[in-house]
């Protein structure tokens, strides 16, 4: 799925009626199967941008085009699971057509097999995030959106989930957009990085990553991070 984004402006009105611009001139295109990463400081409007791209927010100036009707899978910052349904029910309610084999494979990769019948209240944040990820992937999405999927996990857990995500993204035609404030996640998972400024957020730099995800070495990662640091420095 090809995603074309031309947002010229997005404003919020505060309680007093004053308007604040959150996004300004955000334009990019993602091709089918590409993993785009939006990197920006906390509170710069990344989540607002995602809400526009997924159709939750229509109040903006500009245009977002996605072809026809497609399935959107999203992992929100908070897992947003139904606390009164089991892990498996949560996934099946979102993806009623998922076949048992595919579901089992997903559970295996994400190490969730032992938690099928657990309720979300019994899960740690890391587990709940993996359930949310399984739910988003179970619908076999055309467009996958990950909003800070690794935030507030300890480093070991984050690294593990990061490699699970990388594994799951491999060889898919799903167009993916990842939002993060963590450079490590961005550099290890993305095909193309969009570096956002502070509010009103605009794209400062677009950075393609040439080395394929599966063979990206530590020195590649370090090089890209250096490049980003240089760009940020150049911007003051």
């Amino acid at each position: 799925m090809r995603l074309e984004v031309h947002i010229s402006s997005k404003e919020y009105a505060n309680a007093a009626g004053a308007r604040h611009e959150v996004l300004r001139h955000i334009a990019f295109t993602l091709e089918g199967g590409e993993v785009g990463v939006i990197v920006g400081p906390s509170g710069c409007g990344k989540t607002t941008l995602l809400r526009i791209l997924t159709g939750l927010d229509h109040d903006y100036q500009g245009r977002v085009s996605r072809p026809g009707r497609q399935r959107i899978g999203m992992v929100f910052q908070e897992p947003r699971l139904l606390p009164w349904r089991s892990v498996e029910d949560n996934i099946r309610l979102a993806a009623p057509d998922v076949d048992a084999k595919r579901l089992s494979a997903l559970f295996d990769v994400l190490e969730l097999s032992g938690h099928r019948s657990h309720f979300p209240g019994e899960l740690s944040l890391g587990l709940a995030r993996r359930v949310a990820l399984a739910r988003a992937l179970a619908i076999d999405p055309d467009f996958l959106v990950l909003d800070e999927p690794l935030a507030s996990l300890d480093e070991a857990l984050a690294a593990r989930l990061r490699s699970q995500i990388a594994l799951l993204l491999e060889g898919r035609s799903t167009t993916t957009l990842l939002v993060t404030h963590n450079l490590d996640d961005a550099v290890r998972l993305g095909d193309r990085l969009f570096l956002l400024s502070a509010r009103p957020a605009t794209i400062l730099h677009t950075l393609p990553i040439r080395a394929p995800r599966s063979v990206r070495s530590e020195s590649d990662v370090a090089d890209i991070k250096n490049e980003i640091a240089r760009l940020n420095h150049a911007n003051g």
Binding site: L56, I72, W84, I139
Partner: protein, 244 residues
Amino acid sequence: MRLVSVAVFFVTWWIASLLVGGAKLPPPPEVLQVMFAQAKTGALFLNLGVMLARVVVSFALAMSLGTAIGYWMGRHRLADRLGDPWLIILLNLPALVIIVLAYIWAGLTETAAIAAIAINKLPTAVVTLREGTRALDPALDEMARIFDFPRGRAFRHVVLPQLAPYIAAAARSGLALIWKIVLVAEFLGRPNGVGFEIGVAFQLFDIPLLLAYSLSFAAIVFLIETALVQPFEARLSRWRPRAA
């Protein structure tokens, strides 16, 4: 433990009866005797039965209507603004006024009695469900939208479980209210039911009969609370982690 509590009640009653005299407060055996006599003729079951039927119909009516209106008012600001003054009036109107007016306008009929009971209960159900609807988690709503839940699935699996504690609260307080009102409605304008019998006993100053019906009524309420309402509430909150 409950049995002990019931035993203490009967013993206290007996002692009180000995203290104030059997004419004012007949002892338990005398009341139980009247109860058995009423049960033998079938009058007791008939009166309890019609009362229960009135409770069930008016309760179902008030709960379904109240849930629908409350949900609507919680979701739509305009509906809330339009409905609010009505709610305030209905909430504060004495049950007696509603019952008497219903009997005057619709005659001394079953419909009038059931409508009056339901209208008494309706506003509390509406208010509770409106609060519940306002407390719905918008994050889960968005999740259902993103994952394209059809309306029915979203309502059943996302909205309804969040409303369930409010529905249970409305049901519980509503049932308590209906128990109190149904007897007044029967007392004032029905030819049968526990309220009617209590009215007769009052006019004849037949204290054993009065107590026999009061006791049967209390027994029924107790039975329904423990056998239906409490297990229902437990079922609703099954998924919640148990408090230590």
